[in-house]
C-alpha cells in the first residue's frame, strides 16, 4: 500500500466517485430503494400509522337505561376516543364480541346506577378491557378514568356544590396536540438513513469482489482512504437528498413543526451519514457477498435503529443490558438531534454531546471501512 503518496489526491478521489455513480445509475432497483423507500415510509407513518389510540370500539352495556346512564355513554362517545360499536343487553354477550375483536372495551352500567347517584351513594361502574392488546388497553384505561372522573366531578358539583380542593392544569410542550405524527416523522429520519446508508454501501465492496474488479482496484495507485471516500461521496449525496426529502414532506404534507436550525440538522446529518456509510462498507468488506452483506447490514442496522433507538419504544423502561446496548446505537443520538431540532427548536448548546458522539461515529465508520479495505487488498 505504499504506492500512493501522503495526502489525498482530489482528482483520483473524484474519479472513483464518478465510477461509483455510473455503477449506481445502472443498478436501478437500488436507486428505487434510495428514494422510494424513504418516501413510502414517511407517507405511511405520516398517514396511516399512529400510536394515537382513538376510535376504540366500545360495547355499552346499559343495564340501568336511565337518562343518567345514557348521559355517561354519551360522555364516552363525545370524547372521540371511543365509538359505540355494540349495545348488548347482557354482560354475557360481551365475550363473543371481544373474541371476534369486534369490541375492545365494554362499559357495564349496573342496574340502579341513577338511583345510587341520586341517593348520594357511590355508584359502581365496571369496565372490561381486551387485554390481548396491552397497549390499546392501557391507553383505553387511562381515557376511561379521565372520562369517568370528569363525569363524577360534574355530578358531585351538581349534587352538593362541592368540588375537589385541587385541580390539575396540564400543559403539553413541544407537541401541543399530542399528535404521534409529530414525533414519528422526525424520528423516522435516523431510522431511514441508517437502513439506506448501510444497505447501499454494503453492496459496494462485495460487488467488486463478486465481479472480480477488486484486483483491478488494488493494482491502481490509489490511496485506500481515497477509495473509501470516493465510494462514499455519491451515497452521501443520496443520503443528504433523502434527509431533505423526508423533512420537506414532513413539514409540507404533514405539517410537522420545524422549529430549529436547518443548517445544524444538515451538519449533524452529514456526520451521521458518514458513520453509517462507513459501517456499511465495513460490513461489505467483511461479508464479501452481496446477499450476505445486505442481510448483515439489515440485522446490524435496521433492527437496532428501529427498536433500540427510542424511535418507538422508550429506552427508559428497557432492562439494563438492553439500555447498555442502546448506547452503541448511533441512531439513538441522532434521534435526539432530529426531535430536538424539529420539535423543541434547540441549538448547539443542548445538542453538544450528541454532536460530538456523531462526529466520533463518523470517524469510527471511516476508520473501520479503511481498515477493512486494507485487509481486503492484501
Amino acid at each position: 500500500m505504499g504506492r500512493s503518496g501522503p495526502g489525498l489526491n482530489r482528482g483520483r478521489l473524484l474519479a472513483i466517485a464518478r465510477k461509483e455513480l455510473l455503477q449506481l445509475r445502472r443498478d436501478r432497483r437500488s436507486m428505487w430503494m434510495a428514494f422510494v423507500l424513504p418516501l413510502l415510509l414517511v407517507v405511511m407513518f405520516g398517514y396511516a400509522i399512529t400510536w394515537d389510540v382513538n376510535n376504540i370500539p366500545l360495547a355499552a352495556v346499559d343495564l340501568d337505561g336511565t337518562a343518567r346512564s345514557r348521559e355517561l355513554v354519551d360522555a364516552f362517545r363525545a370524547s372521540g376516543y371511543f365509538t359505540v360499536a355494540a349495545r348488548p343487553a347482557r354482560v354475557r354477550e360481551v365475550e363473543p364480541l371481544m373474541d371476534r375483536g369486534k369490541v375492545r372495551v365494554a362499559l357495564v352500567i349496573p342496574r340502579g346506577f341513577a338511583a345510587d347517584l341520586g341517593a348520594g351513594r357511590t355508584a359502581p361502574l365496571q369496565v372490561l378491557l381486551d387485554g390481548s392488546d396491552a397497549n390499546t388497553a392501557t391507553i383505553a384505561m387511562g381515557y376511561t378514568q379521565g372520562i369517568v372522573r370528569s363525569y363524577s366531578n360534574r355530578v358531585a358539583l351538581r349534587a352538593s356544590g362541592m368540588r375537589l380542593p385541587v385541580a390539575t392544569r396540564s400543559r403539553v410542550w413541544f407537541n401541543q396536540e399530542l399528535a404521534s405524527r409529530n414525533m414519528i416523522v422526525p424520528g423516522l429520519i435516523p431510522v431511514i438513513m441508517m437502513i439506506i446508508a448501510a444497505m447501499l454501501t454494503s453492496l459496494t465492496i462485495a460487488r467488486e469482489w463478486e465481479r472480480g474488479t477488486m484486483e483491478q482496484l488494488a493494482s491502481t495507485p490509489v490511496h485506500r482512504l481515497e477509495v473509501v471516500l470516493g465510494k462514499l461521496l455519491p451515497y452521501l449525496c443520496i443520503g443528504i437528498a433523502d434527509v431533505v426529502l423526508a423533512s420537506v414532506v414532513g413539514v409540507l404534507l404533514f405539517h410537522v413543526p420545524f422549529r430549529g436550525n436547518a443548517a445544524l440538522l444538515m451538519v449533524l446529518a452529514t456526520a451521521f451519514l458518514v458513520g453509517a456509510l462507513g459501517l456499511g462498507m465495513f460490513i461489505s468488506a467483511v461479508a464479501r457477498s452481496q446477499v450476505l452483506a445486505t442481510q448483515m447490514a439489515m440485522v446490524a442496522t435496521f433492527l437496532p435503529a428501529f427498536l433500540l433507538s427510542g424511535f418507538m419504544f422508550s429506552i427508559d423502561v428497557m432492562p439494563a443490558p438492553l439500555q447498555a446496548i442502546s448506547l452503541l446505537v448511533p441512531a439513538r443520538y441522532f434521534l435526539v438531534v432530529t426531535r430536538g431540532i424539529f420539535l423543541k427548536g434547540v441549538g448547539v448548546h443542548v445538542l453538544l454531546l450528541q454532536g460530538l458522539l456523531m462526529l466520533a461515529f463518523a470517524a469510527a465508520g471511516l476508520a473501520l471501512a479503511t481498515r477493512a479495505f486494507r485487509k481486503e487488498l492484501r
Binding site: D130, V172, V350
Partner: protein
C-alpha cells in the same frame, strides 16, 4: 430436488446462521425491549410553595412508581432547561400559596403539570396518571367531605396484567415466517437464474410444479422450524400463556406459508439479480409489516388504509395467532381470517406459478 436445495442453502454457514439467529434476536428484543409500559417517568419538580402540603403532593407522585423525581429546583428556568435537554419528560410546578388555596375553599388550588409531547404516547399516559394522583390527593385532603360519586372498576380479560410482551411475542412468529419465506424463496430462484442453472432445470424431466415444490418446500420447513423455535421460547422462557389449540395454529401457518412462498416466487420471477430480489422483498415486507397491526393498531388507521389492510395476509395471520394464543379462540370466531388467508394463498400461488412457468419453460 428438495435435498439439493437444502445442501445449497447450508453451504454458506453464515446464511444458515442468519436464518436461525435473526428470529432469536427479534424474539429477545420484542420480549425484553419493546415495552409500552410507562414506569419511572423522569420528573422534574419546581416547588414554589415549600409547605408540608406541597411536599406531600410530590410524595404521592412518587409513591405509585409511575414517576421518578430526577431533579428539584425553585426556578422555573431550570425546568425549561431539563425539558429541553430531555433529562426530564414531566414537570410538576406547584405555585406559591398552594397550601393556603387548598384549605381556603373558593376556586381551590392548582398544580401545573408540564408534559414533553415529543413522545406523545408517554405523554398521554403520564397525563392520565398525574391527573389520577392529584385527584386522589385532593380527595384525601377533602377528607370525608368529598366522595367521588362514581367508582370505576377495571378488569382486563385475556391478559390481566396488561403485559405488552404477551401481545408482541406471538406476533413475532408471523413476521419471522414472512421474512424467512419471502427472502429465501425469492433469492433461491434468482440465484439459479444468475448462475445459469435454470437452463439445466428447464431441460430436466421435472414437471413445473415439481420444480416449484422443490424450490419452496425447504423454505417452508425452515419457516416452520423457526416457528417452533419461537413458540417454544415464548411458552417456556417468556411464559406467554398458550390457551388455544396447537392444530389450529398449524393450519393457519400452512395457509400463511402458501401466501408467503407464493409472494417470494413471484418476486423472484420479476427479478434478474439477487440484489433486485432483495430490494423488492424489502419494499414488499415493510408495508406488510407496518400495516398488519403488529405494532400499530389497525383500528386507529384512516378508513382507506383499514380497508387496504384486509388484503394483507399478515394482518389476518396475526389476528389468528393472537386469538389462539391469548383468547383460546376457535374456528367459530376465526373463520373469516382463515377464509381470507386461504383465498389469498391460492390466488398468490396461482399467479406465481403462472409467471414462473413462463420464465422457466
Amino acid at each position: 430436488m428438495v435435498r439439493k436445495e437444502f445442501r445449497q442453502l447450508f453451504r454458506d454457514p453464515r446464511l444458515a446462521r442468519m436464518v436461525l439467529v435473526s428470529p432469536m434476536i427479534q424474539l429477545i428484543i420484542f420480549g425484553y425491549a419493546v415495552s409500552t409500559d410507562i414506569r419511572h417517568t423522569r420528573t422534574f419538580v419546581v416547588d414554589h410553595d415549600h409547605t408540608r402540603a406541597s411536599r406531600e403532593l410530590v410524595r404521592s407522585f412518587t409513591a405509585a412508581g409511575y414517576f421518578k423525581i430526577v431533579g428539584r429546583s425553585e426556578r422555573s428556568a431550570d425546568l425549561v432547561n431539563a425539558m429541553d435537554h430531555g433529562s426530564a419528560t414531566v414537570g410538576i410546578e406547584i405555585p406559591p400559596g398552594f397550601a393556603r388555596a387548598l384549605t381556603a375553599g373558593g376556586e381551590g388550588a392548582t398544580v401545573q403539570v408540564i408534559l414533553d409531547g415529543t413522545n406523545s404516547n408517554t405523554a398521554t399516559v403520564a397525563q392520565g396518571y398525574a391527573e389520577r394522583i392529584v385527584t386522589a390527593y385532593g380527595a384525601r385532603v377533602a377528607g370525608s367531605r368529598f366522595v367521588p360519586p362514581v367508582d370505576v372498576r377495571e378488569r382486563a380479560w385475556f391478559n390481566p396484567d396488561l403485559a405488552s410482551r404477551n401481545y408482541n411475542i406471538p406476533a413475532v412468529v408471523g413476521t419471522i415466517i414472512l421474512l424467512v419465506c419471502l427472502l429465501l424463496t425469492s433469492l433461491a430462484v434468482v440465484r439459479e437464474r444468475e448462475l445459469g442453472t435454470l437452463e439445466q432445470l428447464r431441460v430436466s424431466p421435472l414437471e413445473p410444479w415439481e420444480m416449484i415444490a422443490g424450490k419452496t418446500i425447504p423454505f417452508a420447513l425452515i419457516g416452520l422450524l423457526d416457528q417452533a423455535l419461537i413458540l417454544g421460547a415464548a411458552v417456556l422462557w417468556f411464559h406467554i400463556p398458550f390457551t388455544g389449540a396447537l392444530g389450529l395454529l398449524l393450519l393457519a401457518s400452512l395457509c400463511f406459508l402458501m401466501t408467503a412462498l407464493g409472494l417470494g416466487l413471484f418476486i423472484s420471477s420479476i427479478s434478474t439479480t439477487q440484489q433486485e430480489a432483495f430490494m423488492s422483498t424489502f419494499l414488499v415486507f415493510q408495508p406488510m409489516m407496518l400495516l398488519s397491526g403488529f405494532m400499530f393498531p389497525v383500528s386507529s388507521m384512516p378508513a382507506a388504509f383499514r380497508w387496504f389492510t384486509l388484503l394483507n395476509p399478515l394482518r389476518h395471520y396475526l389476528e389468528i395467532i393472537r386469538g389462539i394464543f391469548l383468547k383460546g379462540a376457535g374456528l367459530d370466531a376465526l373463520w373469516p381470517q382463515y377464509g381470507a388467508l386461504l383465498a389469498m394463498g391460492c390466488a398468490v400461488m396461482w399467479l406465481a406459478t403462472n409467471r414462473f412457468r413462463r420464465i422457466s419453460g
